[in-house]
Subunit: 365 residues, 4 copies
Amino acid sequence: MGSTFGHLFRLSTFGESHGGGVGVVVDGCPPLIPLTEADIQVDLDRRRPGQSEVTTPRNEADEAEILSGTFEGLTLGSPIAVLVRNKDHRPEAYSEMSEKFRPSHADYTYQAKYGIRNWQGGGRSSARETIGRVAAAAIAKKVIAAHFAPTLEILPYVESIGALKAKVDTATVTREMIESNIIRTGDPESVGPMIDLIKQVRGEGNSVGGVVACVIRNVPVGLGMPVFDRLEADLAKAMLSLPATKGFEIGSGFAGTEMTGREHNDAFRMQEGRVRTVTNRSGGVQGGISNGEDLFFRVAFKPTATIMTAQDTVTTSYEETELKGRGRHDACVLPRAVPMVEAMAALVLVDHLLRQRALRGDQTP
Amino acid sequence: MGSTFGHLFRLSTFGESHGGGVGVVVDGCPPLIPLTEADIQVDLDRRRPGQSEVTTPRNEADEAEILSGTFEGLTLGSPIAVLVRNKDHRPEAYSEMSEKFRPSHADYTYQAKYGIRNWQGGGRSSARETIGRVAAAAIAKKVIAAHFAPTLEILPYVESIGALKAKVDTATVTREMIESNIIRTGDPESVGPMIDLIKQVRGEGNSVGGVVACVIRNVPVGLGMPVFDRLEADLAKAMLSLPATKGFEIGSGFAGTEMTGREHNDAFRMQEGRVRTVTNRSGGVQGGISNGEDLFFRVAFKPTATIMTAQDTVTTSYEETELKGRGRHDACVLPRAVPMVEAMAALVLVDHLLRQRALRGDQTP
Amino acid sequence: MGSTFGHLFRLSTFGESHGGGVGVVVDGCPPLIPLTEADIQVDLDRRRPGQSEVTTPRNEADEAEILSGTFEGLTLGSPIAVLVRNKDHRPEAYSEMSEKFRPSHADYTYQAKYGIRNWQGGGRSSARETIGRVAAAAIAKKVIAAHFAPTLEILPYVESIGALKAKVDTATVTREMIESNIIRTGDPESVGPMIDLIKQVRGEGNSVGGVVACVIRNVPVGLGMPVFDRLEADLAKAMLSLPATKGFEIGSGFAGTEMTGREHNDAFRMQEGRVRTVTNRSGGVQGGISNGEDLFFRVAFKPTATIMTAQDTVTTSYEETELKGRGRHDACVLPRAVPMVEAMAALVLVDHLLRQRALRGDQTP
Amino acid sequence: MGSTFGHLFRLSTFGESHGGGVGVVVDGCPPLIPLTEADIQVDLDRRRPGQSEVTTPRNEADEAEILSGTFEGLTLGSPIAVLVRNKDHRPEAYSEMSEKFRPSHADYTYQAKYGIRNWQGGGRSSARETIGRVAAAAIAKKVIAAHFAPTLEILPYVESIGALKAKVDTATVTREMIESNIIRTGDPESVGPMIDLIKQVRGEGNSVGGVVACVIRNVPVGLGMPVFDRLEADLAKAMLSLPATKGFEIGSGFAGTEMTGREHNDAFRMQEGRVRTVTNRSGGVQGGISNGEDLFFRVAFKPTATIMTAQDTVTTSYEETELKGRGRHDACVLPRAVPMVEAMAALVLVDHLLRQRALRGDQTP
């Protein structure tokens, strides 16, 4: 039952990268939210391959169809099913994979766990699976805006690619700045070097990783359910559930472990009638609960496992062999990871907003 | 419902730091596991305050009583309730806290979320809450050993305190090495400097953070439930649900984002009839599923928020003021964080072992 | 989140009676189960309208498409999505319903709860929603047979229609006997009178209810999770979640309340090396756990709410009015309720079989 | 994990009839509800044995201690743990049970399921387990009154004992009428005969069953989460999770299956500005959602399995033998079942009220 997420806004994603299609069922969406396929498509387009010169050339239009849960343009409160058909099948590109486990992919572990795998592509471990999440999150964002926090903004951006670090001011970065470049970084000066780096590693048949940072503004105070469903715990789970992620940190993160308490503590003060902190080492959460400051977290993405050079591996008959990648190849997932991080953040937030409303009603601060 | 954890081995912790007591109910423990209070006490003793010169002097024996779920020394398959009474109450030490929010503590966020808080201590946000987790995990470890993986070893240790880094070889570190020093690091040469550092910051009324690393050996292949309940996702959530944590990384983590795929990929080979990887940048998980290599992850703990110097803050009436800590003071949580990390890892593993057995039966690799 | 069912074999149904389609996502199905659309279609055909002269003439082929979760004819262990398109749309037949609440239908309560409803048919409250359940249960039955209990047989049948009671011997009734008549009763002598009764009430523009009884043979001992997820509790919930149901009883049921303990108790004896009971007033469960005897329960279905005579009702503007049904009309749901009861029973059983395997492994009796 | 109930107001009960104690942890209770032990004790006293001449003479004061979750008389929003110690241990009374399975008790099925059982009493299958439910429900009722529906009244009563039927007018019955007699029936004329019947069967070493009916007044419109978590489905599960229950029906129930749609449908009309039904065959739910009319349902309780005459049974070594009950003996559970039914109803309602508030906010009708 690992493909179900959320306690009140609950989604079940389905679909392999090759097969009838991928999609999602969202159970628990409030009624009366205006929703059309276009609302979903805009985010799917940000996620889809082939969107720019730095992403995988797999060319999928990824057109969403809403199968249920709406009526005359409004949500009904019943499950919303969204389906995206698979189109660009090239199973022949994967024939070698039927017999060899690709290093640092999920081929071996899926085979060991399930005793079977769809070797025509990554199956469920493909980034294509995130289509369902992005579709569900497009709905989640509409719920957040309509019911809870119209000004809440989720702004993930590429902070680094390999060793190249963008310089981004989290206080002023805008969606326009991020979406205006194909890297989706908030630092115009990094765009050129980052594009060059991706092209270079791709030219070498190699790949590169990076970090997506995310700032979320205008978060209501009081989100998070101690002790296990702390807001940062659910965000960490959400982010580590994305393909290729290896780390999560919030606020000061690992760097904060080298500070003393005196350096690290966020003093309180009053500002415009609200309790605010002078600094934000906490990253917007204290004791597992949002404190009204910007949420700020970072997610580590490893370099893409698919590379074009020969690698040692083993066959499905457990003999040592060599595998050389070929075909389509996404040398860096970071630009497309941005809408995925945004999606998971939205899904965590909508669930906690609904949970807090259950607990306190509409009177919550 | 944020105090419930696990899908099949499900625990509900309860209790504030000041009040009748703290504890846990474990629902879903298999029957016929030998279990006595002594099995639980050994881990509670590793967690309890006052155990050494580098931990908080709050002196609690933390004696566990099993209220239900066992009979003649064996588990019954019914809920196991464990209760630890609170004893060392000093509410007067907290009277100032009834009126002022401590910076970087959970006072303000609890007040905002719930409209009320137990100001006699940290309430649920106190590390004391982890008693229930540690008790449940003591049971979980017995289930893992009896039903699934007798040689599985969970070995967390202190990797750094402030800027002091221990040198630990994850391949050879033992529980004896870790538990033989009051820091719980795996590097004998770091023990002295780390003790000195903690004493120094404590002497200054200050505090310091650090990193707990964790290696888990002899993990069965196939644990983890893609796509949301990936093993690393559930570990990330578990760790970020601990008090004072700010980050989680697995395998290569954030450092891996600067590598290329060629450097990062873990080649497969055969060894003693098993599929193994030559390197372990993956940290023991691929595609969200354990691959049989050591699990390796790191958890960032911020410096303790309680410090003995004056800090700016606001009152519960929302006026600016100053607060100066006093009384008992744990200048560094790292030594006591080790059994907490171990507990959460055990709870994640037992749940995934049970889930995998449900899916595949006992035939799973 | 009310459209999700099951703890380990978890399904989410979706779809309104009018709209893109209806279906289900099954999350948690074990891998390596042979599965094709034909396996599902056979049960959908037993459920579909228009299958005989005593069911609604709505004519839907109800063709299932498996969208995900299988590969080369086997389940993958990943979510299985099944879609059935809606075809026989006649929204004009429902135009009056847009303005008037049909008595004893769900029109008013859906409107009150959600503030909106799809008035082009019953929306989610339509029996059409059960397509997803029946599809999921077709898979569940294959899992039960392959992993747990190849001889387990779920045999629901129509026990009464209105005041007409069938005489069925639960010890000898067979699927062939039940499926050989369009009423799906186990009593050949009742078939004719029951068909006549349905035709008569339909001719009068009226409708009639009845009881489905269900015997389940060769149930493993030990299913059920006290204290809340007792087997009969989960069966009761499952059955009462079906449209038009008003009651559930197991074993002696309401009649048993008039017996004394001496009359009611099921004495134990040994038979062929197994513990058996001499009588089965318990209906196959004791203390919430299956005891190896036949499960036996009964489900009450009220008369169909749609009738062809004028009834007092109110408009969506809350004015009193009159409504006269017209169009297609299923005067008795009982024959089609049989596969629905079977489906829900299978879904409860597969979930408890998986839960028990998690708890005890394959060694369970 | 069968001892956990509820989605948002989630309880975990624990404890065997003999052992350290029984109790509950409630996770998800809103904060700021006034709560003391006395609030809980009043309902525990209605449930406890030895309260009158017609209940079991086991004499337990059943004193509740709140271990956590309150502060200065108010709930904190954190888990509320309630503990009741076991006192009246008489393990010697059960020594024969260590070797013989009592007919129609849970001894055999617990042994088969878990491979072990606490034979010193009924363990988890004892009615003593319901203490945790009753304690949780005492809290639930306070939440319902404070947050949602101050006038909501849950009124279960004994409708029949054996063949003796009380005549109760559901429209006028009051708590005072019910609680004024030790049978807890709403019909003063039935009290004497019912007491006599219980005494008679007890004198014969026999036992008797009966029916508890329950009317719930002033239920908000819109509760219930189709399609699986329909209100009646969750009520059915809740009731069938109580010990000794064999049936549940709502509204017209099984009797309604003999009616035609014309007789059965509940016409709508306007009354005092609200949509009302003229009759209430639906029992207050339509399409799984409350319609604002009184909820009305009935629960069948079988005769107590403990009787004082010799019965055929088998030993734990699987040899045929005979067992003759002795010791304390509750010849009829019905009077004590009334607060248990009330408790489960309250737990279902509070959960659905919270779920509906999550979905719609406070604006829900």
